[in-house]
């Protein structure tokens, strides 16, 4: 028996969240006396098995075909299902991502498996795995178990550490499944120069209503650039049209858990705090000393962000 990790990559580069999934797969497998296998799907993935070998897998299954160069729901699902059928894993694990949210429930339903999405903790209780995941965007947590022979779990990015533990895995090419489908992804657009992805970033700088207008985001972006941070926004800033919906942090946007979250001009509505409350360190700048965000911030600054942030920027640039 083994644990199968679907290792997500972009253009042959292993994603950070996939490293976390591989690491958790390894530690769980050691506890349970199981082997770990990774599955990679795509085209021209020459360097990937080597990247994966750093995280301690026993086998790497490779489904390589031109038609798999970009994510396609039906063919990726079919290849995952193929490998599951061949190796009959105990646990199928992957990072919680746009791909896994699309594919994991589909394959789980087809093979009759339970799924725990967006898990933040997995513990072994006797023979059974116990999974913890946030509900109500982290306002509560639920511990649950899966009662099917194969268990699916997706891991929240930044919730588990990526730990290297190199091995020399066996690489197994499989005959890639290329099923017909009524849906075809015709192109992928990943604009460059946007900085790190919001849900994976170590540092996030977010702006809210207190910025005053859309132009205020220039200041947010400048600070974010200096910290190699992703840019986030509160719901009211998004609803006002100052920021794109994909930047929204909160219960109806992205739930994030970075090492450092800097909230600029964000009052701290319950639904916003639900979306960022598990950040390791929170810094908030707000004019209003009564603002909710200051009650959850590790470091709060009461003041005008247009005075405070330029000082931060100047000091980070090393002149002042």
């Amino acid at each position: 028996m083994s644990i199968l990790v679907f290792a997500e990559h972009r253009g042959g580069i292993l994603r950070k969240a996939a490293k976390e999934a591989l690491s958790k797969g390894r530690t769980l497998a050691e506890q349970m006396g199981l082997k770990v296998a990774a599955l990679i799907i795509g085209s021209d993935m020459g360097g990937l098995p080597e990247q994966i070998s750093k995280y301690g897998v026993d086998d790497v299954y490779v489904a390589d075909d031109q038609s798999l160069a970009i994510y396609q729901t039906e063919s990726y699902a079919a290849n995952l299902q193929l490998v599951i059928k061949e190796m009959n894993p105990k646990v199928v694990m992957m990072a919680n991502s746009a791909i896994s949210r699309d594919m994991a429930p589909l394959v789980a339903e087809r093979i009759g498996a339970g799924l725990v999405p967006d898990c933040v903790e997995i513990t072994l209780k006797g023979e059974k795995l116990s999974y913890t995941r946030p509900v109500f965007a982290g306002k509560a947590l639920v511990r649950m178990r899966v009662n099917t022979p194969i268990e699916f779990v997706t891991l929240r990015p930044n919730a588990f550490p990526a730990v290297e533990s190199p091995t020399l895995p066996r690489v197994k090419q499989i005959k890639a499944a290329v099923p017909d489908s009524g849906a075809k992804t015709v192109c992928v657009d990943l604009p460059e120069g946007q900085g790190p992805e919001l849900t994976e970033a170590d540092v996030i700088v977010s702006g809210g209503r207190g910025l005053g207008d859309a132009d205020g985001f220039a200041l947010v972006r400048e600070l974010a650039g200096l910290l190699d941070a992703a840019v986030g926004a509160s719901r009211s800033a998004v609803d006002a049209g100052w920021a794109g919906h994909r930047m929204q942090v909160g219960q109806t946007g992205n739930v994030v858990s970075p090492k450092l979250y800097i909230a600029l001009g964000i009052s701290g509505a319950i639904q916003h705090i639900a979306g960022m409350g598990t950040s390791k360190c929170i810094v908030a700048v707000n004019k209003d000393p009564e603002a909710n965000i200051l009650k959850v911030a590790d470091y709060g600054i009461v003041g005008d962000l247009y005075e405070v942030v330029p000082i931060m920027i100047k000091k980070l640039k090393g002149n002042g």
Partner: protein, 258 residues
């Protein structure tokens, strides 16, 4: 265009969550709303029906709890009918059971499109849309922020980390709606009053095309917990120059963030 929209009634996003003495989620003081992502799905269904110049928009909700608040919101927006698949006979309903229940009702009916919200804001799972497409055996596009239908085919923009994908898909298919797809209409007072008078059809789950003995949840809840509250932080005092210098030093030296 015949469009079916799957609806979930959820807690309002400003709700505070407390546990009952038995350890379940306390629903007694909570305001219920239509799941915000389902509102985008309803709005898109109405826009597509209006664009096609006819058809029917049906709202369907599988739930143990009466979802009338959410369904009536959809009716007030302009949906033609609303159905509640009452799941009370099943002690615990997971996404597999929801998908089977909805599919049981959908099977044998004619539809061009099934729309869902991309995620319910209560469980945050994003699990139902793909499970349902799997049971129905129709193609799916999830997290869609833009779509167009021409000659029986849809072109959909699917949001992914840092960008998007364009997906071409045949109808019938299932689409899950992302914020940005549209701006849901506010129903007028007259529409809200009219919706109150419309009936929500209630169908017992075992009369919707599935048998209770064949439908068992795949997962079970062990317990709910509340997260430990964040320890109250501190307000940095002093002039801005000193505060910022101190803050950056702490982030660097104590927290080792950069």
């Amino acid at each position: 265009m015949n469009i079916v929209v799957c609806i979930k009634q959820t807690f309002d996003s400003e709700a505070r969550i407390q546990l009952t003495s038995e350890g379940s989620i306390d629903e007694s003081l909570v305001k219920f709303v239509i799941n915000p992502f389902d509102e985008y799905a309803v709005e898109e269904a109405l826009l597509l029906k209006e664009g096609a110049g006819g058809g029917e928009v049906t709202l369907i909700s599988a739930d143990r709890r009466d979802p009338s608040v959410a369904l009536r919101q959809g009716l007030a927006m302009g949906a033609d009918r609303a159905v509640w698949l009452d799941c009370n006979k099943i002690p615990f309903v997971d996404h597999h059971v929801y998908a089977q229940a909805l599919a049981g009702w959908l099977r044998g009916r004619s539809f061009d499109l099934v729309l869902c919200g991309k995620m319910a804001i209560d469980d945050g799972a994003s699990e139902l849309p793909s499970r349902l497409a799997g049971v129905l055996n129709i193609p799916q596009v999830t997290t869609v922020s833009q779509l167009r239908i021409e000659n029986g085919r849809m072109l959909a923009k699917r949001d992914i980390e840092g960008g998007f994908e364009m997906v071409e898909v045949e109808l019938p298919c299932l689409v899950s709606a992302q914020k940005g797809l549209n701006i849901p209409r506010y129903p007028s007072l007259r529409k809200i009053m009219e919706a109150k008078r419309k009936t929500v059809e209630r169908i017992e789950i075992d009369r919707s095309g599935i048998s209770l003995s064949e439908i068992n949840p795949f997962v079970e809840i062990e317990e709910y917990m509340l997260p430990s509250a964040r320890t109250a932080g501190r307000i940095l005092e002093g002039d801005h120059q000193t505060i910022v210098a101190g803050l950056l030093r702490m982030l660097h030296e104590e927290r080792r963030i950069f």
